[in-house]
């Protein structure tokens, strides 16, 4: 097993270009895409009521834009309405002196979140204004700010439905995890393709005739694919955490664990693909389709929360990448712990074991 494993590294050293280019692509994609919209990427087109004074309009915008998760961008009314009609945006906001109107597309998944945020902002601001009018000192605003920083009482809120917690769109992390998991599929599948090549070029027979057990040969290959895929993802995570200062939460070890489980499930899934498609030429075509398809449906390119088609959602339930992304994001963004991750981890392991079993069987049967 070790000799088969080491041989793959020897071969990798001779031709590292492909794997390195997947690594580079990940980095470039994350940098370009996440760099252009730092932190959040939800923008709400905003326009003012004709009666609203410009100064007031600016004040509202400033208040609203204090949030990290949302951006309110001032546009013409006509433009905002058109954008909603065209489906370019899920909602548009109209500012009024002490009220607002929200134009919403019915099935926009963020509507409650956004509306409740605007609602809160308005309510708070209006209350402070009321306070300002009543107080004489004119320091009410500062006092409220102070008190908010050191609250006498903190109330922790928990959603009753647990899972249905508020949707936080973190474009940076979405991009980072999505791309890291996506490109690792390529690396893993192309690495595992060496098994298929061995069968085609006859070196497999030499291995079978040697004292090595067949499982040792498989293990050597699987372990190599796992290692190289894992190292690729971890390198990306480390790079963006330490060099680009992405906020991935403070449970890095947990991220590594999830990555390992995810990598295992992708190695297993690749084995299934190899079992189904047994010529290297066909695999060259199939691998990109499988990788891209899984990434799209599983939410590597855009958050799965944006997907509403039931069939796609159903498919996403059997893809490891869905669970991998979900787990990574919930650790990095929501700070969840291991106990809450048991489900996605268990599902990924299950998918892995099933795919591996079927894959190896198919591979053996075809011989």
């Amino acid at each position: 097993m070790t000799s088969v494993f080491l041989l793959q590294w020897q071969r990798f050293r001779r031709a590292p270009l492909m794997v390195l280019s997947f690594l580079a692509l990940t980095i470039v994609f994350v940098m370009v895409m996440a760099g252009s919209n730092p932190g959040n990427s939800m923008t709400v087109p905003t326009y003012a009521h004709p009666a609203l004074a410009e100064q007031q309009q600016d004040e509202w915008l400033e208040q609203l834009n204090k949030s990290e998760g949302l951006q309110f961008e001032l546009v013409e009314e006509q433009e905002a309405r058109q954008a909603v009609l065209d489906g370019d945006t899920g909602m548009a906001l109209q500012l009024m002196e002490d009220d607002y109107r929200l134009l919403i597309v019915a099935d926009d998944p963020n509507r409650f979140e956004v509306e409740s945020y605007i609602n809160r902002t308005y309510a708070e601001e209006l209350r402070i204004r009321q306070l300002e009018q009543q107080s004489t000192s004119g320091e009410a605003r500062e006092r409220v700010a102070e008190m908010l920083e050191e609250p006498a009482l903190t109330v922790e809120t928990q959603s009753l439905e647990g899972e249905q917690e508020s949707f936080v769109y973190d474009g940076q992390l979405q991009m980072l995890f999505g791309m890291a998991l996506f490109f690792s599929i390529y690396t893993i599948m192309f690495s595992l393709m060496k098994i298929v090549e061995e069968k085609k070029f006859g070196t497999w027979n030499r291995l079978i005739l040697s004292p090595l057990d067949k499982w040792q040969v498989y293990m050597g290959h699987l372990l190599y694919s796992f290692t190289i895929g894992y190292v690729q993802i971890v390198l990306v995570l480390v790079l963006f955490k330490y060099l680009f200062n992405f906020d991935v939460g403070d449970q890095f070890g947990l991220l590594l664990l999830i990555t390992a489980v995810y990598t295992f499930s992708i190695v297993a899934l690749s084995m299934l693909v190899m079992g189904l498609v047994q010529s290297p030429q066909q695999l060259q075509a199939v691998v990109p389709i499988v990788a891209t398809g899984m990434a799209m449906i599983g939410g590597a390119f855009w958050p799965i929360e944006l997907v509403t088609n039931n069939m796609l959602l159903a498919i996403s339930k059997v893809l490891p990448i869905t669970y991998g992304l979900d787990a990574l994001k919930s650790v990095a963004i929501h700070g969840r712990g291991l106990t809450e991750l048991m489900e996605p981890i268990a599902v990924m392991l299950l998918i892995g074991v099933v795919c591996m079993g079927i894959g190896i069987n198919l591979m053996e049967r075809k011989r």
Partner: protein
Amino acid sequence: MLETEELTKVFKSKAAVDGVSLYLDKGESVGLLGPNGAGKSTTISMISTLSKPTTGDVRLDGRSVVKDPGKMRKVLGVVPQEIALYEDLSAYENLQFFGRIYGLSGSRLEQAIQQALELVGLKERQKEIVKTYSGGMQRRINIAAAMMHEPELIIMDEPTVGIDPQSRSHILEMVRQLNKEKGLTVLYTSHYMEEVERLCDRVYIMDHGTIIASGTKDELKSILSGEETIWIELDRPYPELFAELAAHPEIVQAAETEKGIKLIIPKGKRILGSIFQSAERHQAQILNVNVQTPTLEDVFLHLTGRKLRD
């Protein structure tokens, strides 16, 4: 040492190998001869435990290897028909790996590598990537890879296909040495008669999945003892002349060759005169005429009515 009993392999109801029984004694060099598609490689893959026979058995020292392939694999070296190497690695690295999987390491491994390289005469170029080798050199490393664990029995499946004459004679000489000097038992597959004639003590001739003749070279040739071969070299092909000769009642067999026509006739028949007459009639220009005792090639032609190669 090795024997097969009624080996049969059926692919999708078509029998590629049909009831092949053969044996090899220790230290023998045996040829398995047959045209493309005769079933040679299929036979070999069953003998070497890579595929299971549909029916029949393979025995090594009296014990079935179909049920227990382990013992066979230990003593066996196989040189596959297709080059089975890691093309992206050097010859040295390939041999190193194939030695390692047989449990060699350290100085024993190093020694085995250098020995194998010496055997195939590629010591100087061992660090080069296999992909950059010529076909002949790849073939030689392909053989070396099968020799790393010092097998007692070596099976070679057409080890000289498509290579330059120099590499070819190097390989033939090497196999001869291994057999005669080191006492290796050799099963040598080929569709080149000359190779088998030169290397092998005994020969099996295979066609359409069955063995159609077997024995020592002389035994086989004695099939044709009552016949002789006439080579007629012509300046160009003359199909009508060939047709006429093929239909000649005294001629046992006629075949077109690269340079002219080859005839097998009963020994002692005076037939040359009528051949010259025919040539005259067709205005064929005869460059050379040669009367020979038969070769294995002729035996094959006699047995199947076809040439070994086209």
